[in-house]
Each structure stands twice: as structure tokens, then as C-alpha cells.
Symmetry: C2
Subunit: 187 residues, 2 copies
């Protein structure tokens, strides 16, 4: 093993490949639209280099399919060494979740922002959460045979439910904190 610690994207690629071979394009789609989208995110610029490194380290193999005209399809498969590396990587303590929230930055800055901006952010967030939860509920049926996906979806629904609930109950308080639109004489 040339590197003892796998980068997050490399770990993600191995985890996806553990469920079956895939192309870089499919891995990206999985991490943007698929079951993984709620807790990872990766772009071409990180996935393809990561796959190249993994191939170089012997953790994945590549098989090329040439379709006339189209770019070469590079299909990646995990190797036994790759499986070992994945298990080793996932065996390390996971550490806290990392959350990046533009919305919470707006909330924190509410005292310095016009009330309309705060209100728009709250509404947008409520909309997004509602949409997301609907989507999760819709796909629950499709994946009921994969229990780990069901577990994760349940987790996501629980967290988003609480989030939405807090938002609906406390939206007015937050907007009230914002800078009142009329009295801007006093900074």
C-alpha cells in the first residue's frame, strides 16, 4: 500500500465500486443524484484523478469499452486489495459530520441583514427541505430491499423533519431579529 490514508473521494469511489463496477461518470451521478448525495459530494475533477490513483495503487482495475464515435468507456472494478483498503479506511473513527450551511450563515448574520433577505432565505430553505423529504419518501419503496439505504433514508427523513419543524416554528423569531427595514438611521 503506497498511501496509508485514503482521501475522502477515493474512499467514496471504493465504496461505490464495492456495489458493482462503474464508470467515472456513473460514480459522479451516484454522488450527485443517487443514494450518496445526502452526505458526500464529488466532482469530475476529483473523481477521475482519484480513480487514476486507485488504479495505480492496485485497488481498482480498468476495462475499456470502445464504442465507435463516443469517448472510451473506462469501467472500473474494485480488487480484493481495494476491498481491504476500503474496510481499513472505514474502520477508522468517522469523526463528526461536517456541515456547510449558507442558510445558517444568513441566520447568524440576521441582525445585519434586511428582514426581506432573511425571510427569503427561510422560505427557500423550507421549500428545499420539503422537496427533499418528498423525494426521499418516494424512493423509500424502490429501495426497501436494500436495508442500509432504508436505514439512511430513515435517518435523513428524521433529521430533515426536525429541521423543517424548527424552521416553521421559529421562522418568525428569526425574521424579527433582522434589521428592521424602516429604522436604518441608527447603525
Amino acid at each position: 500500500m503506497s498511501t496509508d490514508t485514503l482521501s475522502p473521494v477515493s474512499t467514496l469511489c471504493l465504496a461505490i465500486l464495492q456495489c458493482g463496477e462503474a464508470t467515472g461518470y456513473e460514480i459522479k451521478k451516484e454522488s450527485v443524484e443517487g443514494d450518496y448525495r445526502y452526505f458526500v459530494d464529488a466532482s469530475y475533477g476529483s473523481i477521475y484523478p482519484a480513480l487514476a490513483r486507485l488504479a495505480n495503487d492496485g485497488y481498482v482495475t480498468v476495462r475499456e469499452e470502445t464504442h465507435p464515435g463516443r469517448p472510451i468507456r473506462k469501467i472500473y472494478s474494485i480488487t480484493p486489495e481495494g476491498t481491504d483498503a476500503l474496510i481499513a479506511a472505514l474502520s477508522q473513527p468517522p469523526g463528526p459530520d461536517q456541515r456547510r450551511s449558507r442558510f445558517l450563515l444568513v441566520a447568524k448574520s440576521a441582525p445585519h441583514l434586511p428582514a426581506a433577505v432573511v425571510k427569503a432565505a427561510v422560505d427557500e430553505r423550507r421549500r428545499l427541505l420539503t422537496e427533499e423529504m418528498e423525494h426521499l419518501r418516494r424512493i423509500t419503496a424502490d429501495y426497501s430491499d436494500e436495508p442500509s439505504v432504508a436505514w439512511i433514508v430513515g435517518y435523513g427523513l428524521a433529521c430533515m423533519g426536525t429541521s423543517l419543524d424548527y424552521l416553521e416554528k421559529n421562522a418568525d423569531d428569526l425574521v424579527a431579529i433582522a434589521k428592521p427595514p424602516l429604522a436604518d438611521a441608527a447603525e
Copy 2:
């Protein structure tokens, strides 16, 4: 305005400076230990270049304090243009939260992992969540005069509470999904 879209780190710096002048060191501490740590994260390697860009664009000013021996203290203050840029940046729809969760990757991969690994991850996560919530409860009193911080802390506590609750109720199910330690004959 030379750039119409601020980078996330630049936005963060402006948001912090909006509450008062600070050095790069203090901004970093705020984003790692302070009120912002739950939803952003930034390092020296991103903060200092961002501050330089902001200064270059006229969004912040720098004042230098030379203490004998120590490195020069560069104290940054936001300008009116900076405030405008901050408000403009925060006025754009915030988009969904981004969550990076090593733990959920473990959960998703549970069928391919030894039960002990899954159990360790669950325990570690429970520990982290409990610690984090205790810390939040402790600081609630200190910041009761800043209502936006109180709002965010309430939000965080609600989400973490649900998270912990789901974890405690469903931990066994997840561990049960993991690969049983004895029967590893059939892959």
C-alpha cells in the same frame, strides 16, 4: 466590484468582520471553536488569501499593530463596500446544506463491513453527538444576549437531538445489516 460572486470563505470573513474587527488568527479560531463552527470551516490557507483579496477589492481595510518580537498583528475591518457585498452575497438563495458524513458512508457500506466496525462507528458517533450537545447546552447561557446565536444553537440542538435519538433507537438494526463475523464463506 471586481468579482461579482464572493467565494464561501470570503463571505465568511465578511460575516465575521461585520461583528467587529479581527485578525486572521481570530477568524480562524471563530470558525473552528466559535459560533460558526457548526456550519462552516476554514483554514489559514484559505482565510489569509481571502483576506488579501478582500483588501485588494476594497471590502476590508488593514491596520497593522507591531508588538516587539511578535509577528505583526494585521487587524482587518469591513468597509461600507464590504457590507454591501456581504448583503449581496447573503441575498442569493442559500441552496441546500452540504453535509459530509463519514459515518453515513459507513452506514451505507454496512453490508460489506464487519459488524464490529459498524458498531464502533455507531458508538463513536453517539459519543461525539452527546459531547457536542452538552457543549451547546453549556454555552447557551453565555450567548443569551445574542438572539441569532441562540436561534442557531436551538436549531443545532434540535437536529442533534433527533440524530442521537434515531441512532439510539436504530443502532441495533444497522449492526444487524453488517456482514456477520462467522459466516464469511459466502461472499
